[in-house]
Amino acid sequence: MKFLLSGNEAIARGAYEAGVRVAAAYPGTPSTEILESLVQYQDIYAEWSVNEKVALEVALGAAIAGARALACMKHVGVNVAADPLLTASYTGIKAGLVIVTADDPEMHSSQNEQDNRQYARFAKVPMLEPADSQEAKDFVKLAFELSEQFDTPVFLRSTTRISHAKSIVELSDPEHREPLHTLEHHFEKYVMLPRNARMRHPLVEERLKRLAAFADECDYNEIILQETDIGIIASGTCYQYARESFPQKSFLKLSLVYPLPVKKIKEFAARVKKLYVFEELDPFYEEQIRALGIPVTGKEVFPVCGEFSPTTARIAITGSKPKKNAPALLETLPLRPPNMCPGCPHRSIFYVLKQMKVFVSGDIGCYTLGGLPPLSAMDTCICMGASVSGAMGIDKGIDKALAPDNLGKAVAVIGDSTFLHSGMTGLLDIAYNRGACTVIILDNRTTAMTGRQEHPGTGFTLRGQPTKQVDLKALCKALGIDHVRVIHPYDLEQVKSTLQEEINRQEASVIISQAPCVLHRREFKPLGGPLNIDDNACIGCKACLQIGCPALEWHPEGNRGKARINSDLCTGCTVCAQICKKDAIRREG
């Protein structure tokens, strides 16, 4: 049977067909749908782990226990999981272990566009890179075979244009695998004391050599010899872009992208007149190919930054730019950037933080949008959890005697899922080392940005089973924070007074702002229905517009113009009504 599957759905299907027994992940675009799709296969144990390091360790443990195991994460998630990764390379596995890294060239939904092919070289583990959904499925199965054949974790690298592109996939039946569920003591292999690790490292180097030989022998790195004036080395979607633009030229399509097939590269280079390496982001192949003494054209014509397209290939190789068919109909178009939803519980917090003019140490989630106008209340956003420990550093680093009012105190803003991912440790540091920071946990009861996944604070698992639910207030107290307050973000007075009191406090404190995401299917309760603006009472002062709610619209007609509410969008959260000095915003009917 043929199905249209996204790369992520195909990876999940491949895991199922390969007989995976344990899968673990933390949600992150563009990787999230792998586990969401995997739950359709009832026999696989699948979990949302607390973070990517935990996910990889869970998967590694399962692989050591004899179960084929999968860990999935976005590119920056591998940074979090890098610690177990680099040593898992030494220990190897018993049953197959595959790590999916979903990279995000162009940063459609990420804070950087790091090229995780570098991790394969860094960790000395093989990496496969599919070029469509069919290959995504097939390569997962191949990755498990390689993992067991070479006793190593194996990377499968996807990018946004693989994970979130759909193409046609032929499905197979799952493999029948005899269970290997017996733990074996193997001190020299799994206990990385220095003396054992010293014995394992040469095995890793020797493994790499065998993998390099395999790269040359296997069919997955394929030479397609056609017109030989131009030869292009490419992998993943870049191969598709180049093939689309130059269907008659010659290609070396890489699928096992680390270690590289040296003999095949030399053979291909000898057969073509001009050799291009067409790769997104870093010159990963290019530098290795140059080191072989082979002249190649790469980053001097193709960009390092951003994602490629079939247009990129055409322009750089032929120099012909596509003609622009854009008639100058409009000079400039109003932009439509992403925004928090109408009724979003985060909005009031950022509105008040902006008014207080504090320095906001921000974090990763929907609430990062609080940095955009008109709220404009975020001063840093680095990585998951950095808001909390970063606030600690700001507190210790700033010269408070010189700081103006309210800029002497650091305020961290972090979501519930992000706090549990890696904010907890920073908070423990604040308590332990007596930082005087205020940490605001925006507890919307879900992992919102990636599409509302469960986490340890929601009381439900990936499969929707009820489970233990962490008590955030008790947790913060247990970490050593004496002042923990829970507030309701739709009560603007409470938000203002609580923030002011805690920011004035010369000790560490936590404010938990608690209300479910407006898209939360289980917990969100309607907020009372749309509000209305009394046209006669509205003086057109635009104060309500400063919360940046999509339901509030400015109508410039008349002498001063008026604000109006789009009743199709308004949830009735009343934050704008609490801001209006003329009491012009009221419940309809």
Binding site: P30, A165, A326, M340, M449, E553
Partner: protein, 194 residues
Amino acid sequence: MAEHRTTNILMAGVGGQGVILASEIVSEAMMRAGYDVKKSEVHGMAQRGGSVTTQVRFGTKVYSPLIRDGEVDILFSFELLETMRYLHLLRDDPIIIVNNQKILPPSVTLGNDRYPDTIPDMLAAQYSRFHLVNALDIARQAGNPKALNVAFVGALSRHFDIPESIWQDAIAAILPQKLVALNRKAFALARQTI
């Protein structure tokens, strides 16, 4: 089937309008009609209430999931202003199908910009194959304004030589069971009336 050059459809709209779902139905229908199909879009922060695009490509053999600049055959736009962002990607004499709906972007709701009000006239003057569709009205007629995306696909379906039964099967394959009847009705209504 005979060799068929790749057809490129760029779908544009605003987060929440059901653009992605519409692209799922079109892709499914093209696969069922026997074509190779690829479709691409972005998720996550990129979709939070902002501009959304998705690209559908079908033909005998499709390599790239992305359309080359200047080669969009059909611009299928769910919102007037969004249409204007992608005109530079169109080929000569393209088909432009636009849902006659305005959704105000933040700079307009904040009073810093005005929503351009002559978009349909500008497009009609420039493109001979421009079609304006009131998909929301058709969806309401079918029983629910939320079916606007599938009604709009009904308008698109007129441009391909594919039997209606394939489209109706694709709708049933993509949508949850309880929504199939409504959406089939919206699709059929749009296909007949436009």
